[in-house]
Every structure is written in C-alpha cells, then in structure tokens.
C-alpha cells in the first residue's frame, strides 16, 4: 500500500465518519455524470458561469437553497462549509447541527459536510446534477476534501497560502503546505477516472488594498503547487480592485503568466481558468446601492473575460443573506450577462508591462530561494517577506508593504518592504500618488480607500 493510501485510511478513520468505502467512491467518480464536473462546463460553455455563495446547516435548508438557485438559472452551485468544520472541530459542528435540526434556528454559518457524510450529501448533489463548488477556509482540509469528492463535489476551492494568510493568526504555514499537498494528490488521482477535478485558488486574500502583483504571484504559486502534483484543471482568481482599468490589466497579466509558468514546469496540458469575485470589501448598507455595485462588478468581469463569476447579494452589509436575496443576484447577473454585448477590447500596455515585470521579479526571487522543493521555497519567501500580504492577521506575514489608491482608484505600492519590486516599477507606482502628505493624512487616506464602495 502506498504512503498516501495509508495516510488516507488514517484520515477517514474518524469517529465522525461513517465507514468510508474507497472502492465504492472510486466507482462513483468513474461513472459520475459529466454535468457534475465544472471542468467539463469550462470546456463547453460559451458564456461566463455564474456561481453564488451559500451554505446552511441542515440538509433540508441547503436543499431548499439549491432549489432557489436552480430556479434562478444558476450555472454552479456553492457549498459553503461552517466555521467549526473549517477548524476540524467536528464535535461542535455535530452538536450545533442537532440544535439547528431540532429548533429550526441556524446555529452554524455553513453546511457541516463531514457530519452529514458523503452518502447523504451525494443524494442532494446528484439530484440537482449541477457542478458544485466547495467553499471553506480550512488549513487542514484532508477529510473535508475526501468527503466532498465522495459526495460528487468536483470543484475544490482553497490552498495553503490563500486559506491561511487571510484567516488565521498562528496556524503553522509549513503544516498547511503538507496538508494541501495531500489534497492536490487526491484530486489528481481522481482526475484520471473521469473529467478532471478542478482546483481553484482564493485570489481575494484579505480583500483590503492587496496590490495585483501580490495577488498574481500567490495565484501562480498555488497553481504550480497544484499542477506539479498532477492536477489538470485549475482556476486562478482575483476580486474587483476598485479600478476597472486595474481589473482589466490584472486579468490580462494573470492569464498570460499562468500559461507561461504552467509551461515552464511542463504542465502546459493543464486547463487554466479565470474566476472573478464581485467586490469583496465593505458593502453599502443601502440594498439598492449594493445591487448597483453588484451589477457593475458583472460588467467588469465581462471586460476582464472571466470564465466564472462569484456573486454577492444586496444583503451583504447586514449578514448571511436569505435564499431569496441570494437567488435574486443569480437571476440579475444572468440577465446582465445576456444583455451585455459588443464589449470593446481595452489594452493598457504600459500598466501591463509594469505589472508583468513586478510579478516576474517576485517569482524569480521565490525560485532563487535555496530550498529543495517549491513549497519550501514559497514558505521561506513568505517568512522572509518576499511575499507580503497587506492586512494579513498571520504572525508569519511581514506587514511591511503599504498600499494606497491613486486618483483613478488603482491600488499602488508606496512601501515595498522586502518584496523585490524592481526600482523602475516602484518609481512608477509612487509617481501616481501624492506622497508629500504626512503619515497621519496617509492613514486617513487608507481608511477612505478601504471603504470606497460604502
């Protein structure tokens, strides 16, 4: 028996798991409907796929939510996992699930997939016969991903960097790399049986003034870590920056460089897709304004040429949305996409050149780290600040990079810390900003820049 299979046997031997039958799961994936695979839809769709967010604790409510989505003409169903499961606390999840079932009050902020188990969940997934995307935030997602794939969920979000740096203060990053390596290998192995399992990285990160260069570098690195384990379908992603031009430039550069680096490591045969997140920062309380913002995000996603868009709702500012509000965004977004025709092509060569140079310089510094494997190089680069994510709560993050918006609301780097932004690019970024102000005014500008959509 291989080491991986030994580890898998240990992972599924958990008191909250009702006997895991690997042979049966293998047969299921092999014969599963192509419609369940987002990779199949990416190959054949002639439009941007629309996917909302959403997860409820009980099977009944999740089923009802999915029904609403399907009636709103959804392309990809979400399954958002509760916070206890994300921290591997299946015992609390189990108790809260029982309370939710008995009292008809939601005691969890998502669907506790491990507690429901794959036999139950598979009934729901195969009933709707739509691709499902797993949304979580789990550093150690090994059991969760085994359960998800066994349930028929073939689009797996996350990664060791993007699910750690925005969400955790002190979960050990080196462990996260190893846990995600397991996930990549399991996804790669299942991909040989039918259509490929798609992996998706979480580009929004902290969604707080993250400059495109940092977003793209992290997207590319998680993509490479996934492809080198044998994954054949991968989605890079980013969220609306606040400047339409910066979004278009980011989309162009990430597409170009994803292809370039995939080929560099001999994985040019993998299919790479682009996912765009509607505005991930603070939303306006006014629900009509929120709808305008959502609609504008859809227009920008079309300009960017995204393959999938992930939606927000008019209730974003006030908490977890109702299924009605959630389905409404899906219908509205589909409508906007249908009537958006004859879009112009916009290319900003100067901005693309600057961003490309920045990304390549950071990537080169990562590859030049003396460690022997890619994940160790990436780990070291985060530790020594070559990669620095603004507003990450994690203790390993350097927090030396400072960004503000310029007059056109582009996010600009005004302090680079240890990030090897080439001098020419750094001078360009700074030249767009008014740096004559004192730090107190700059802090006030940052507060304003974070809340631009309010």
């Amino acid at each position: 028996m291989s080491l991986l299979q030994e580890e898998r046997d240990i992972i599924v031997s958990n008191e909250y798991v009702d006997s895991f039958d690997f042979a049966e799961v293998k047969e299921f994936v092999k014969n599963a409907s192509k419609d369940l695979f987002i990779s199949h839809h990416f190959k054949n769709a002639d439009k941007m796929l629309v996917q909302p967010r959403g997860g409820f604790p009980t099977y009944k409510k999740q089923f009802a939510l999915n029904e609403f989505f399907v009636n709103a003409n959804v392309d990809v169903l979400p399954l958002t996992i509760d916070s206890n499961t994300r921290l591997n606390d299946y015992s609390t999840a189990s108790r809260m699930l029982r309370l939710s079932e008995e009292n008809d009050v939601d005691m969890l902020n998502g669907y506790p997939l491990v507690n429901h188990g794959y036999r139950t969940t598979r009934k729901m997934i195969t009933h709707f016969n739509k691709p499902v995307s797993l949304r979580h935030g789990t550093p150690d997602a090994r059991l969760l991903i085994e359960t998800a794939i066994a349930s028929g969920i073939f689009d797996i979000e996350g990664g060791p960097i993007t699910y750690l740096l925005p969400y955790s203060k002190n979960f050990p990053l080196d462990k996260a790399f190893l846990y995600w390596k397991y996930v990549e290998r399991v996804c790669a192995n299942y991909s040989e049986l039918n259509e490929p399992i798609n992996r998706e990285s979480f580009g929004p990160l902290t969604a707080t003034l993250v400059p495109p260069a940092i977003t793209i570098v992290i997207q590319l690195l998680e993509m490479l870590l996934s492809l080198e384990e044998g994954v054949k379908s991968f989605s890079v992603s980013f969220s609306q920056t606040g400047s339409m031009n910066q979004d278009i430039v980011t989309g162009a550069v990430i597409k170009k460089l994803a292809k370039f680096y995939a080929e560099e490591i001999g994985c040019g045969d993998a299919a790479i897709h682009l996912v765009y997140h509607q505005w991930m920062g603070a939303f306006p309380m006014d629900k009509d304004f929120a709808e305008q913002l959502i609609n504008m995000s859809t227009v920008i996603a079309s300009m960017v040429g995204a393959d999938k868009i992930i939606t927000k709702t008019r209730e974003e500012a006030s908490g977890i949305p109702t299924k009605e509000a959630n389905a409404k965004t899906v219908a509205n977004t589909q409508y906007t996409l249908r009537i958006l025709n004859g879009l112009p092509t916009i290319v900003d060569e100067e901005e693309e050149d600057i961003l490309t140079l920045e990304v390549k310089a950071i990537m080169e510094a990562v590859f030049n780290d003396p460690a022997d494997t890619l994940w160790r190089k990436v780990f070291n680069s985060i530790k020594n600040g070559i990669i620095d994510v603004p507003f990450s709560p994690h203790i390993i993050n350097h927090n030396e990079m400072i960004t503000i918006r310029d007059a056109n609301k582009n996010i600009r780097i005004i302090e680079r810390g240890n990030v090897p932004i080439p001098d020419r690019c750094f001078e360009y970024e700074k030249s767009k900003c008014d740096l004559t102000k004192d730090t107190t005014s700059i802090v006030n500008d940052i507060i304003h820049d974070i809340g631009i959509m309010m």
Binding site: F391, P393, N399, D438, V443, I447, I450
Partner: protein, 144 residues
C-alpha cells in the same frame, strides 16, 4: 507631541477571539508616525499576553483595541490580572474600538470601562482623535 521625552513604548493588539486586523495595522502605523516605539501583538490576543509583553518590553502604554463587541468580558478581568504583576502602577491603560455588542451610549460605556481600570476609553472614536487624547494624557502626566 512628546517633546524632549525619551521615545515611549506602546504595546498594542486586539483582545480576545477577534480577528479584525485592519484597524490594528492602522493603529500601528499611526503610533509609529507619532514617534512611539510599537510592539504590536496583532489580533486574537489574550490579556495575559498583553501584560507579559508590557513587562518584557518595559512599555509605558498598553493600548487594547476591540471591534467585535466582546471587549467587556475581557475588560472585567483587567484589574485582577494587573494586580498579579509588579511595577505596573504607572502603566497607562487605554482601550478603544467598538466596545459593546449592539448599540450603547459613550456616556454609559466610558465610566464603566474606567471603573474596570482603564485611564482612557474610546468607544467609536476616530483613530486620530483617540491618539490625540493619549498624547494629551501623557503630556499632562509629565507636567505634574
């Protein structure tokens, strides 16, 4: 400003199971801009960690922040815990942010938190106003 005084040290961080990091980073930046030496413990910090850091760094100011509304549960423990440490009598204790769950009036909240042992209490006060209050407090104390 601090005049001719030596550089003052501040320990800061977000108390309890609170992961809201944005204001924490901005407090850090602003304190540095005002000439303080900052020891930022980040989000998700427990009271013991704050006091340990004050002892370790010899800080004159402890600035605790909180956004998720759970500060009061932690604030109640401050006096008891501080009493367990030696040489903290001159420590300036400040708390700021969104200090209660739901809505509350500053005129009720401020005296309550002062009673818990805080010298300065800023409930939903703008960052720079709060830091001005801190500098005024330090100046007043130094002139005594």
């Amino acid at each position: 400003m601090l005049g001719n005084n030596a550089i003052m040290k501040v320990v800061t961080g977000v108390v309890g199971n609170d992961i809201h990091v944005v204001a924490n980073r901005l407090i850090d930046l602003s304190l540095r801009a005002r000439g303080f030496e900052v020891f930022n413990l980040g989000v998700n910090t427990y009271l013991e960690e704050f006091f340990d850091a004050v002892v370790e760094t010899g800080a004159e100011v402890l600035l605790i922040s909180s956004l998720n509304g759970e500060a009061e549960g932690w604030a109640r423990e401050v006096k008891t815990l501080k009493a367990k440490y030696k040489h903290l009598d001159n420590l300036i204790l400040m708390i700021g942010g969104n200090l209660v769950v739901g809505t509350g009036k500053a005129e009720d909240i401020v005296p309550r938190f002062k009673n818990y042992g805080f010298d300065l209490v800023c409930h939903q006060v703008d960052l720079n106003t709060g830091l001005d209050m801190l500098e005024d407090f330090i100046e007043e104390r130094n002139s005594q």
